[in-house]
Structure formats: structure tokens, C-alpha cells
Symmetry: C2
Subunit: 195 residues, 2 copies
Amino acid sequence: MRGRPREFDPDDAVESAMGVFWTSGYHATSLPELLEATNLSRGSLYAAFGDKHGLFLRALDRYIADSLTRLDADLDPRKDVLDGIRACLARYVERTSGAGAKRGCLIVATAMELGSQDVEVEQRIRRFFKAMEARLTTALERAKSERRLADEVEPSTVARLIMCLLEGMRVVSKTNADRSSSQAVVQTLLDRFVR
Amino acid sequence: MRGRPREFDPDDAVESAMGVFWTSGYHATSLPELLEATNLSRGSLYAAFGDKHGLFLRALDRYIADSLTRLDADLDPRKDVLDGIRACLARYVERTSGAGAKRGCLIVATAMELGSQDVEVEQRIRRFFKAMEARLTTALERAKSERRLADEVEPSTVARLIMCLLEGMRVVSKTNADRSSSQAVVQTLLDRFVR
DNA sequence: ATATTTTTGGACCAAATGGTCGTCAATATG
DNA sequence: CATATTGACGACCATTTGGTCCAAAAATAT
């Protein structure tokens, strides 16, 4: 290609921007903050991403992709199902304790801040939850077929229950990052639904 | 009292403001929007509430008070415990379906938007969750003493589990307000924890 | 070496932001 | 009635907002 090559890596910029949006939310993040975090000038940023909203979408997409990647790693079909589910829950327990908990979750925050006002965002959030629910459902169906899930219970319903529970933990732990109570909740859940 | 009397009811103004914050969030709500919703002039609003932040705190306090009032009504100690818990859950199912679901929950939205950056807000949110958890715990202890709660299970842990689940439902239903799945989740929960 | 293409950085902009203040109106008190 | 006190209103303000644009620089292809 002709012309002067880019001096920055767009993916790095997206990652930096993601960090700012993550800690501050969309509206509370200003252009100057974004510029400082990404080390870009206004011109470069707008040329590369269109506008603040475009950059946010990129950041959100990245966050979602990362989340699903971790989920897939935890629920790897080659592993023992229950180990996978436990790993997944354990990860959320970690994420809802200590300093990390205060940072919250970009998806949850975005769902609440823009979920019903920005169609592009709404679509992404909905897809994420659908994807997460689907992965959990698959895992639970596997558990069920191995007779390791409680009998009377439907995998898809439990999947949604777990998803809501985990996301709710992220909300509550924003102002109360108590590890042990998250731990206890997850343990109780497992006790009642799994064998 | 001396001087010209107020022409507006501050509580009405707070309620109107609450509505705007509820649908748009703190940062996305502008002064002009607040002025239109409350029918106040800038001068009056600032004289009565200090600033945008002060008005928001009042609105949040009101929302919290309303929520706890409803919770207390549902979990009325004079009623059958399980009926109370069921009523409480049913209320959340209602709130997470249809148009109302898209509006979300001011507490959850505020927790995510300001929870870790605004100490006054953080305090209020934390207190709310503590209060909600405490009420649920009390109800569940009553259920336990009546042997209507699953045996191996601890009321305080189940209380937190339910709270997280309900708040998580509010998050997920922001972009997927499917009544029947909320219904099924709640039913499954009851099936596994209650007799 | 030159022409071409693209990036860069920041000056610049209009609009919107939250917030203040002075003037006038309405009531209570003497 | 006169005065003191408070409220209402909107003009006004400094700052910040997201966004545009252009001149200079830089790097490639010819």
C-alpha cells in the first residue's frame, strides 16, 4: 500500500479505550481521556474509528469477545462438565471480589447505561447474553445426559438462572465485594443443582 | 414562615426528576431535561436542591425508599412466609417483562454508573442491598423455622443468592424482556429451595 | 529524486454543559 | 401601609463537550 503507514496499532488503541470505558462508562468518558489513554491525537482517532461511538463499539466488541473466549475455555467440551462449570463459577467469584469487583463489568454497565437507547449496543448485549446462555445450556445438557444434574430440572432454565445470578453478583459486588459470600452462594447453587 | 411561598411541591419535583434519571441515567440527563420534567426554572431548582447531584441523591433516596416499602409489603410477617417470598419474586418477574423491563432499575443502573466513584451514592446503594438482603434473610429464617426451607441450606446465603438473581434478571431483561423465562427461573428456584 | 498518498497533531468550532446572579413578585410581619 | 424575607424567572457565564479541518510531515512507489 502507498502512503505513510500507521504509527499505532488500532487493536492496542481499542484495548486502551476499553479500559477507560470500563472504569468510567460511556457518557462519563471524555474525548481527552480517550486521547490520553490511547496516545492518539484527535485527527488519528477520528480517522481510524469514526467517532467516540465507533470506538466504543469496537471496545465493547473486544470485551465481549474476550468474555466468550474465557467462557469457552472454562466450558471446554473435552474437560469434565462439572469441572468446567465450577471453573466458570469460580472465575466469577474471583471477579466479584477485591479491587477488580469495584471495576464491575463493561457489559453489565453498558446494558444498563445504553441497553435500551442505542440499537447497535442493544444488539451486541443481547447477542452476548444469548451466547452465554447457549453455552451454559449446552454444558448443562451434557451434565444432564451424564446424570450429574438434578433430575427434575431443565438445563436451559438453569442456564438462565446461573447467568442472571452471575451478572447480579457483579452488580451487588460493585459496592460490596465480599468474596466469601459470593463463594457461599455459588457453593449452595452447586449443592442444589448438581451431583 | 415569612416570604413568598413555594409554588411547587419539592416531593413532586423529586419524583419527576427520578423518572428522568431512571430512564436516562445520571450523566445522560441534562439540566434542561430536568427543568422540563419538573417544571422548575434553574433558579428554583438550584435553590431547592443545591445542584444536579443533590437532586439526584434525593431521587435515588426516594426510589430506594419505594423499593423497600414494596419489599416490606410483600414480606409482611403477618402473612404466610412462602406467600410473601413468592409475591416478592412474582413482582420481579413482572418488572422484568414487557415495556417496564426496558426501563430497568435505577438502583442497578446507578450502582454500575456511579457505584465506585461517588461515595454518597455508593453508601446508599450498599445500604439498600444490605437492607434487601437482611429482609430476605429474615423471611428465609422464618421459613426455615417452619421447616419450609430446604434443610441443608443457610437462610443468609439463600437470601444473597436470591438478591443477586433478581438484580441479574433486571440486567439481562434490559435487552431481553422475556417473561416466561423469568417465570421459569423463579419457579425452578422455588422448587429447589422450598417445600 | 520526485510524486503520491496517508498520517499526524493541534488549532479551531459550534453547541451544550452545569451553575450563578440580579431583578422582580409574592407573602408575612411590624 | 411599609418593610423584610423568600421564591421565581431567565439572562448570563465559563467551561467542556464531541467533532472538523488543514498544514506539515513522513513514508512509500515510481
